[in-house]
């Protein structure tokens, strides 16, 4: 990507808290900041419950933000909007879900599911144009015209995901949040869907936020990757850099935990195994949230929240290990 990259999205200190009861708040997303450039795929990874889906939904305004802001094309996503503004906004941002089945109305034909957005936004002048559009979308995602007359339950998981993708594409969006779109699919089918998403991105100039917990697939599809832990962003880098030089101990542990499909390597590999489970987002640890599982944690990590800083070009990390101010304390 050239120097003249255009920021399609700017996410600043975004927070989404859920009220559990009178005394408790769950900090699902707790102050994350990053940009997404036009035409790129930004991958978001982290263990389940770390706030990936909540982040994706808040960015799309499916949830109100508790704090912070999201700018899309320079405009505040969460600002008050007229009906008309809201409509054009929902048209340009779409979502693809993990479970295509749950997100497709079982009583509608595939044709009508795909055409829903076309109808809402009046994108077809007449019935003929509507049909043509749907047929061309079916073809784009690797299905055929005849599939349009069937119902979702008649399709396999991979085909349903194609239907979900066609529905998202129908309104010509600029930006798509794909929330674990392949997690429920078999490996051989995952590859089909990932190849399709990549091709569509090229052909339609799409920008993706690709959410997954499978780091190897994220690395494959993303230009840049953000690693989340307990509602915070631990690290952001280009996917190559993140894989070759992970800086945050959590990223290192995450990469090291992935079993590689190479028995020889698996037999000889030294692993960083993190102990225990992820703490509760209702009462997260003080200071650095990873410190309770971090092999390098010292006293300072419990006291001071690490700042998210660009330690190398385009490589952002929130960890005291790299902060000169704490060099002495971290040596212990």
């Amino acid at each position: 990507m050239a120097e003249t990259r255009e920021k399609l999205l700017e996410i600043k200190n975004l927070k989404k808290h859920f009220r559990i009861d009178r005394k408790h708040t769950l900090r699902a997303v707790d102050g994350i900041s990053f940009d997404i450039y036009r035409g790129e795929t930004f991958g978001l990874v982290g263990e389940s419950g770390c706030g990936k889906s909540t982040a994706g939904r808040t960015i799309l305004r499916l949830y109100d933000a508790s704090d912070g802001e999201v700018k899309f094309h320079g405009e505040n996503v969460h600002a008050r909007k007229s009906k008309k503004e809201l409509k054009s906004f929902t048209r340009s941002m779409q979502m693809i879900f993990q479970d295509p089945y749950a997100s497709l109305n079982p009583r509608m034909t595939v044709k009508d599911i795909i055409a829903e957005g076309i109808d809402i936004h009046g994108l077809a002048k007449n019935k003929k144009e509507r049909t043509e559009r749907v047929n061309s979308l079916l073809k784009t995602v690797g299905l055929n015209t005849e599939h349009g007359n069937r119902y979702p339950h008649e399709f396999s998981g991979g085909q349903r995901q194609r239907i979900g993708i066609a529905r998202a594409l129908a309104v010509d969006p600029d930006f798509i949040v794909a929330d674990e779109p392949i997690s429920a699919l078999d490996v051989s089918i995952q590859a089909q869907v990932v190849n399709l998403l990549k091709r569509l991105q090229k052909d339609h100039g799409l920008t993706y936020l690709f959410i997954a917990h499978d780091l190897s697939m994220v690395k494959h599809i993303s230009d840049r990757v953000g690693v989340m832990y307990l509602g915070n962003m631990a690290e952001i880098a280009t996917s190559k850099e993140l894989y070759e030089n992970p800086m945050h101990p959590y990223t290192q542990a995450l990469l090291s935990a992935i079993p590689l499909a190479d028995p020889e390597v698996e037999r000889t590999r030294e692993r960083i195994i993190v102990e225990g489970d992820v703490p509760s987002p209702i009462s997260p640890p003080s200071g650095c949230r990873f410190r309770t599982r971090c092999p390098f944690a010292t006293d300072i990590c419990a006291k001071v929240v690490p700042e998210f800083q660009e330690y190398k070009k385009e490589h952002w990390v929130a960890c005291h290990l790299y902060d000169e101010r704490y060099a002495d304390q971290m040596k212990q």
């Binding site: 389940s48 490996v187 089918i189 089909q192 590689l260 190479d262």
Partner: protein
């Protein structure tokens, strides 16, 4: 190496909507003492039904036993009475599942659930079973076992529930542990802990493991031998090195090619086109024929015999027939020299 278990020509079907779903079709394999045999394949290929049939847990009806034998300890499991099976389950052969919540009893403390098998199979007293339970929880790495043993499954995290299930499964020192996608629902960091734990326990107890998974990384990490299933059949079997470094079946090539390589740049993934066969009406010949880029006329009509490529590797593919053209595995299926960072 002594054979612990030998499955011969096993076939299991399900009667559904007037159609017969042929879930497992004529499969044969064996399990050696102390080894870990992985069964891999996509969903619906018959892995779980195979596992369930070893413990006679396939619901019948709708399931039905079509033929074959499962020899364990010199006797055929398929011929045993339900009563005889009860004394084998949990004692000689144990099973753990993908979702611990479906097999753990939510209304019973973890301690009670561990004690059940010990009291039944080993005639331990309540007190002795409790003490052994604490020991087992400690063994599987549950912190604070004295307190934890009194808790209910919902008070455990996902990773801890999986550990508890392993503790229950291993309570009576079974000869065989069947693990059906034990880490599929877990995050990678927890998966790494559980795989480590299983290896450690196997070293200690010598239990042979049948590990069912669809993740080739997990296979490479944990298995000594591999059986690749597709469409209700085992299409290839071999040592873990043979399957990864010298695979001969195009489906195995396809699986290896579909995986993104962590150390590779973003070239297109080699997806396997199409989708798996409908087991209510499977292809007459090779189950992979509809998706195989090398399919020939003969593959449609006739299932190939197994060709013995070594004393350990067997592959069922017409490409291995001497009359077939020479085909090299695609670049994408070549494994080796993965670079490790981090």
């Amino acid at each position: 190496m002594k054979k612990l278990l030998e499955v011969k020509d096993l076939s299991i079907s399900f009667d559904t909507y007037g159609a017969e779903v042929q879930a497992v079709r004529n499969i044969s394999f064996h399990l050696d003492e102390k080894e870990t045999l992985a069964i891999v394949g996509e969903s619906g290929s018959g892995k779980s039904v195979t596992a369930q049939s070893l413990m006679r847990l396939v619901p019948m009806p709708p399931g039905k036993f079509v033929g074959g034998s499962i020899i364990f300890d010199g006797e055929d499991i398929t011929q045993k009475s339900e009563k005889q099976m009860e004394s084998i389950r949990g004692k000689d052969i144990s099973m753990i599942f993908q979702d611990p919540m479906t097999s753990l009893n939510p209304t019973m403390t973890v301690g009670k659930q561990i004690a059940e098998g010990l009291i039944k199979h080993q005639n331990l007293s309540k007190k002795a079973a409790h003490d052994r339970g604490v020991e087992l929880l400690k063994l599987v790495g549950i912190p604070n076992p004295e307190a934890r043993i009194k808790q209910y499954p919902h008070q455990y995290s996902g990773g801890m529930r999986q550990r508890a299930m392993i503790a229950i499964a291993l309570a009576c020192n079974p000869k065989i542990l069947i693990a059906d996608e034990p880490t599929t629902a877990l995050d990678v960091t927890i998966q790494a802990q559980i795989l480590d734990l299983m290896r450690e326990l196997q070293d200690k107890t010598g239990t042979a493991i049948i590990l069912i998974t669809h993740d080739l990384g997990v296979v490479a990490n944990a298995a000594s031998r591999v059986a690749v299933m597709y469409g209700g059949k085992i299409v290839e079997t071999g040592t873990v090195d043979e399957i990864f470094y010298n695979p001969k079946h195009p489906y195995t090539w396809g699986l290896l090619g579909s995986m993104p390589k962590l150390d590779a740049e973003g070239e297109e993934l080699q997806a396997i086109p199409g989708s798996p066969p409908d087991l209510a009406d499977p292809p007459k010949g090779c189950p992979f024929v509809t998706r195989c880029p090398y399919a020939m006329k003969v593959c449609e009509q006739h299932m190939p015999d197994y060709k013995e490529l070594s004393s350990t590797q067997k592959t069922a593919c017409w490409l291995l027939d001497e009359r077939a053209p020479d085909v090299e595995p695609p670049e994408s299926a070549i494994v080796g020299g993965t670079e490790v960072h981090g």
